[in-house]
């Protein structure tokens, strides 16, 4: 259905999003060629695209709240790190086990808590995040506490490993793209419609035969899967992990990305992750005022695009229709 001609027609009608994506692709290409520190920033951005896109399925589509998805990233990331760095496992099976472990944990935690509504669910997820963080700090025999684990090998299969910064960037962007495309597929499917229906009205969804508790759990598991993948990608891309990587800061950052990008939209999560990851680099020139500048930019975005950056294209359409 999405042939090139329909994409072109769409772009002529509303050029905002295509322009934004062209800009993003240009930026990535520029960093790829020039290299340097910005490559590490883009690594970080791509990993967060995966994490935030997953969180968006649970929070944006299904309309639930979770402060605890960092827990699933931590479980999978630490499993990867411990098994590869301390026990000599191959990265791929270690990451696979980490992701399955995180999913199992999400199932055990999600099954009872998703019967809770609103604030109660938020509190329960916050607790999960804090518990996993404390375990990472205290279980020193395995996690080495605040010291963290270093010497984690990069991703790869057998002799073929992804070691150079540029190759890692390509791999991470591939993961990010697959993640965004899959989220788009979900949004347009029967499953995604059921998620958004639950966000709109749980009662109406039930009256149409949607098993609300079951669908909330499915959304929770899908987003936990994204979080777990992001968690493992991080340790193999950076080669180091410590509890702070998956601390409460991760939640705050992901929320900022989600709201700045546009919660509930397919592109918004990815856009927010990219913009928020790059923002500190952009405002760095203000030296001691950089935190102030960072905050000012966030406030400006939320004043002029309260639906997030992805809503700018809707504003464009509205303005055109109004004119």
């Amino acid at each position: 259905m999405t042939s090139l001609t329909t994409i072109w027609a769409e772009a002529r009608r509303n050029p905002v999003m295509p322009a934004v994506w062209t800009l993003a692709a240009g930026l990535v290409a520029y960093v790829f060629v020039t290299g340097g520190y910005l490559i590490a920033v883009l690594h970080f951005a791509a990993i967060y695209v995966v994490f935030v896109t997953g969180l968006n399925i649970f929070m944006g589509y299904a309309g639930q709240v979770s402060f605890g998805h960092n827990a699933f990233a931590a479980i999978s990331g630490y499993t990867s790190a411990v098994l590869t760095a301390n026990h000599g496992w191959e990265p791929l099976p270690a990451a696979a086990l980490g992701v399955s472990g995180a999913l199992t944990c999400a199932l055990i935690v999600g099954y009872p808590t998703l019967r809770l509504r609103g604030h109660y669910l938020a509190m329960a997820t916050l607790a999960i995040g804090l518990i996993v963080y404390e375990i990472a700090v205290q279980w020193q025999a395995v996690t080495q506490g605040y010291m963290g684990i270093s010497g984690i090998p990069p991703l790869g299969i057998g002799r073929f490993t992804v070691t150079s910064d540029r190759a890692i960037l390509v791999l991470l962007i591939a993961f990010a793209l697959i993640g965004v495309l899959a989220a788009g597929g979900i949004r347009r499917s029967r499953l995604g419609r059921a998620f958004v229906a639950i966000a709109g009205s749980e009662d109406a969804a039930r009256a149409l035969g949607i098993d609300v508790a079951r669908y909330k759990l499915i959304a929770f598991l899908i987003s936990a899967f994204y979080a777990a993948v992001a968690g493992s990608l991080f340790v193999h891309a950076v080669g180091f992990v410590s509890p702070e990587v998956y601390g409460l800061h991760m939640v705050v950052l992901a929320f900022t990305m989600l709201y700045v990008g546009g919660i509930g939209t397919i592109a918004g999560a990815a856009l927010g992750a990219l913009v928020i990851a790059l923002l500190p680099e952009t405002v760095r020139r203000f030296s001691e005022y950089q935190d102030l500048a960072y905050g000012a930019v966030l406030i400006l975005i939320l004043i002029y695009a309260p639906g997030g950056l992805a809503s700018l294209s809707r504003l464009w359409s509205a303005k055109k229709e109004g004119a």
Partner: protein, 256 residues
């Protein structure tokens, strides 16, 4: 033939008996309206029938099966679909997508078909055709791609009914469908309900607008203080002295 049978259904909230020992049979055809003054227990009765609250006592039988205490989604699966007194749309979905959600029970597809859309292409195409056809029937086809949240109120009501119809119910329960509609919209709603009935769907509705009810209902059931005080054709009910005393008299006065 009876489609819905209520057998001594009672619902208490603490000391209040909201629905008191109501027994009622709804035949498999036409429009039945439940009327009664505010606080008579109509919406509570609706909630009990549709599984949103459990009865304190009594039984609900639908299409020959005991559905007492089943979850709302289970009851929907059996072909009993309701709307709400305060319109409950999926505001972040488009008008078309809202109706597509109504097809949920008649389609399959989870994560697999979400990630590999070509596998669900025929199903999705069927859903699309069905949904557009329904929007056409209720006159919302021009707004198919509008977000449901921005529709004017009257069209929201229509959309909620279209979405319920997408589930192909045997029994459609409408909680005050004409509330807040202007005269023209009410007339179109009556036409729509008539057409729904000719499709073989039984309609059970709660309504306050008496001229609307008298115009559209084949049978009436009258609740007062949770008790069923009368039932029958509109003409029979209008002659019933209990009803005149409890309800119609005061309502006529209020409308004058």
């Amino acid at each position: 033939m009876t489609l819905l049978r209520l057998d001594a259904v009672t619902r208490r909230f603490g000391g209040l008996v909201a629905v008191d020992n109501v027994s009622l049979e709804i035949a498999r055809s036409g429009v039945t309206a439940i009327i009664g003054p505010n606080g008579a227990g109509k919406t509570t009765l609706f909630n009990v029938i549709s599984g949103f609250i459990a009865p304190s006592a009594g039984h609900v039988e639908f299409a020959g099966d005991d559905i007492t205490g089943l979850a709302a989604e289970e009851i929907a699966k059996r072909g009993l679909v309701r709307t709400f007194q305060l319109v409950q749309l999926f505001e972040n979905l488009t008008v078309l997508e809202n109706v597509k959600v109504g097809r949920h029970l008649h389609t399959k597809g989870g994560l697999g078909s979400a990630l590999l859309p070509h596998r669900a292409r025929t199903i999705e195409a069927g859903v699309e055709t069905f949904a557009r056809d329904l929007l056409n029937k209720v006159g919302l086809d021009a707004h198919a791609d509008t977000l449901a949240g921005v529709l004017p109120y009257g069209q929201k009501r229509l959309l909620e009914i279209a979405r319920a119809l997408a589930a192909e119910p045997k029994l459609l329960m409408l909680d005050e469908p004409a509330a807040g509609l202007n005269r023209g919209e009410t007339t179109r709603l009556a036409d729509l309900i008539r057409r729904i009935v000719t499709l073989g769907v039984t309609v059970l509705l709660i309504e306050h607008d008496m001229s609307f009810v008298m115009n559209i209902a084949d049978r009436l059931a009258v609740l007062d203080f949770g008790k069923l005080i009368a039932s029958g054709t509109p003409a029979e009910v209008q002659r019933n002295p209990d009803v005149i005393a409890a309800y119609l008299g005061t309502m006529e006065a209020a409308h004058a």
